[in-house]
């Protein structure tokens, strides 16, 4: 009997470790797979020059990824700049000021927003954001645009990443014990001073982690951006011009034009780049969280 119990105990352990190992191995396996697939391209041109070159003429064997990386970084930045402040203030309002009724109404909406398929956001972008930019926003800046542009991509992405960031931030602000706020108020702080100096300050690592998730989400998002960003292969600093983010490159072209030599390998390299960038974003944010926790 005892032997059986010990045996069950031990085998359970093995199962758990095995499940964990699978999860841990997944990114590694994906990374290795993508790397092997991109070897034909990497043998032909170094990773450094692939990433920095701006010439994309696959039929002539020229693979420059910089326009795609630039496009991805640009839409991600716009998305972050638009969504981060909204999320911080909304989370502060919901956790510190709002009545229970408002929270009860609002939270399911956030969950629905998080669960909507990204193609719906894409359609929303085409029906609302793109015309809004071309008809109303661009004329203010005296620019003419079709509306399919970097800014449209950024706006759609910001709407998509809001529920993710907001959910985490609400959790984070809710974990600040009410006793700390009481302490701050009792020392003569106003409600806003307590929120600023105590609640937000204590939540900085969590807020940073929410930012990290939002940025990674925006960087990797494919369909919705692809539908509104114009998919124009040109580096432009003007957000009213079109762009071509990295995930869109893969989604638009995989399965087509694979007769061109090394094209397949180039798309795999694009996927590898995405993986590496997401990994880098995660490492940077881990570091920031660690740094802010120490203080």
């Amino acid at each position: 009997m005892i032997f059986r119990r010990i045996a069950v105990d031990k085998t359970n352990n093995v199962w758990m470790v095995a499940s964990l190992a699978t999860i841990l191995a997944l990114p590694l396996i994906i990374g290795i797979g993508l790397y092997i697939k991109s070897i034909p391209l990497l043998e032909y041109q170094s990773a450094g020059s692939l990433v920095t070159s701006s010439e994309w003429l696959p039929s002539q064997g020229k693979f420059g990824f910089w326009p795609f990386i630039y496009g991805s970084l640009y839409v991600t930045m716009i998305s972050f700049l638009l969504s981060a402040p909204v999320c911080v203030f909304a989370a502060i309002y919901l956790t510190q000021y709002a009545s229970k009724r408002i929270v009860n109404i609002f939270m399911p909406i956030v969950d629905i927003l998080a669960g909507l398929p990204s193609v719906i956001y894409g359609v929303f972008g085409i029906l609302v954001v793109v015309p809004f930019i071309s008809k109303y926003l661009a004329p203010i800046f005296d620019v003419s645009t079709s509306g399919y542009c970097i800014l449209a991509g950024g706006i759609v992405l910001s709407i998509m990443s809001i529920p993710y960031m907001l959910n985490i931030m609400i959790e984070v602000f809710n974990t600040v014990p009410i006793g700390i706020k009481e302490a701050s108020l009792s020392l003569g702080a106003t409600s806003w001073e307590s929120i600023k100096h105590v609640v937000v300050k204590r939540s900085i690592p969590g807020v940073i982690s929410a930012f990290g998730l939002g940025i990674a989400k925006a960087f990797g998002e494919t369909i919705a951006v692809m539908m509104v960003v114009g998919n124009v292969l040109k580096i432009s600093h003007n957000p009213f011009k079109g762009g071509y983010p990295l995930p869109a490159l893969i989604a638009n072209n995989y399965g087509e034009m694979l007769s061109i030599p090394k094209y397949d390998s180039a798309l795999m390299f694009a996927a590898l780049l995405l993986l590496v960038v997401i990994l880098l974003i995660n490492i940077v944010f881990r570091y920031l969280i660690y740094k802010t926790q120490i203080k």
Binding site: S99, K100, P177, I178, G179, I180, K181, E182, A183, S184, L185, S186, L187, G188, A189, T190, S191, E193, H197, V198, K201, R202, K295
Partner: protein, 272 residues
């Protein structure tokens, strides 16, 4: 003759006023009622807190002691489900109904909670926080205040070399004394202490209790506790509460030796 009377009564009034200052209660609660949704948590509380004494609010857990304490500096604002009515006069200001600045009235009361709730900053900044909120920016003055108040709670020698390290690195007993120092730094008249020793070991508890005895020379202390022995050791005035009512109140000798109600008798028997 009439003039004589008027002068006499004026003199009497003046004398009364002067001698009255000491005996005049620092805090008066009138007809305080608190509801949480449908529960009547505090039932028509009328209470006067004597100056420079330790008033102990005694009673079993959940009887409304902490809520009463939180009403005193209007922290009930944080709990939206609570409906508070009545008057609480801190000196002249009715904190529940005043149009004056609530934060500055709150500074008349220092708060010590069940657990040390540190602000997410260094030891130094924890003490300086409230002082800075008063508008004091001068570094020398801030440092003077930090040193003085840390000395007052006997923490200065233990932390003077690491004032700028995070307050969370202190032991829990030290943290609680830091919270006390932080409260004293805003120069309150009253210290509101909500079971301040409940998370502490016996030695740290003893230190806090001894501090209270010292501090009552300059401050009025309102101590919430369910520990009978602590009440016996510290109280100058005891208020016994039971399910939202004040059952009995008076000097500790009277209350503990000759309880008038069955409820208190039972509590004393079980507490011993």
């Amino acid at each position: 003759m009439e003039i004589q009377n008027i002068v006499d009564s004026a003199e009497n009034n003046f004398l009364n006023l002067n001698s009255g200052i000491e005996s005049f209660p620092i805090l008066r609660i009138q007809n305080l009622n608190v509801y949480a949704e449908k529960n009547h948590i505090l039932k028509d509380i009328n209470l006067e807190i004597p100056r420079n004494k330790i008033t102990v609010l005694l009673g079993p857990s959940g009887c409304g002691k902490t809520t009463l304490l939180k009403c005193m500096n209007k922290l009930t604002d944080l709990y939206k489900e609570l409906k508070v009515s009545g008057n609480i006069f801190i000196e002249q200001d009715d904190i529940l109904n005043t149009k004056k600045d609530i934060p500055s009235i709150r500074q008349k009361m220092g708060l010590l909670s069940q657990r040390p709730y540190l602000l997410p900053m260094s030891i130094y900044k924890n003490v300086a926080y409230g002082v800075k909120l008063k508008g004091i920016r001068d570094k020398k003055l801030l440092h003077y205040s930090v040193e003085k108040n840390l000395k007052e709670v006997g923490l200065w020698e233990e932390v003077k070399d690491r004032l700028h390290s995070p307050a969370t690195k202190l032991s829990i007993g030290q943290q609680q004394r830091l919270c006390l120092a932080r409260g004293l730094a805003v120069k309150p008249r009253i210290i509101l202490a909500d079971e301040p020793t409940s998370a502490l070991d016996p030695i740290s508890s003893k230190i806090i209790e001894n501090l209270f005895v010292e501090l009552k020379k300059h401050y009025t202390i309102i101590l919430v506790t369910h520990i009978l022995r602590q009440a016996v050791r510290l109280a100058d005035h005891v208020v016994f509460m039971y399910y939202g009512d004040i059952i009995e109140q008076g000097p500790p000798d009277e209350l503990f030796n000759n309880p008038k109600t069955e409820t208190l008798k039972k509590y004393l028997v079980e507490g011993n």
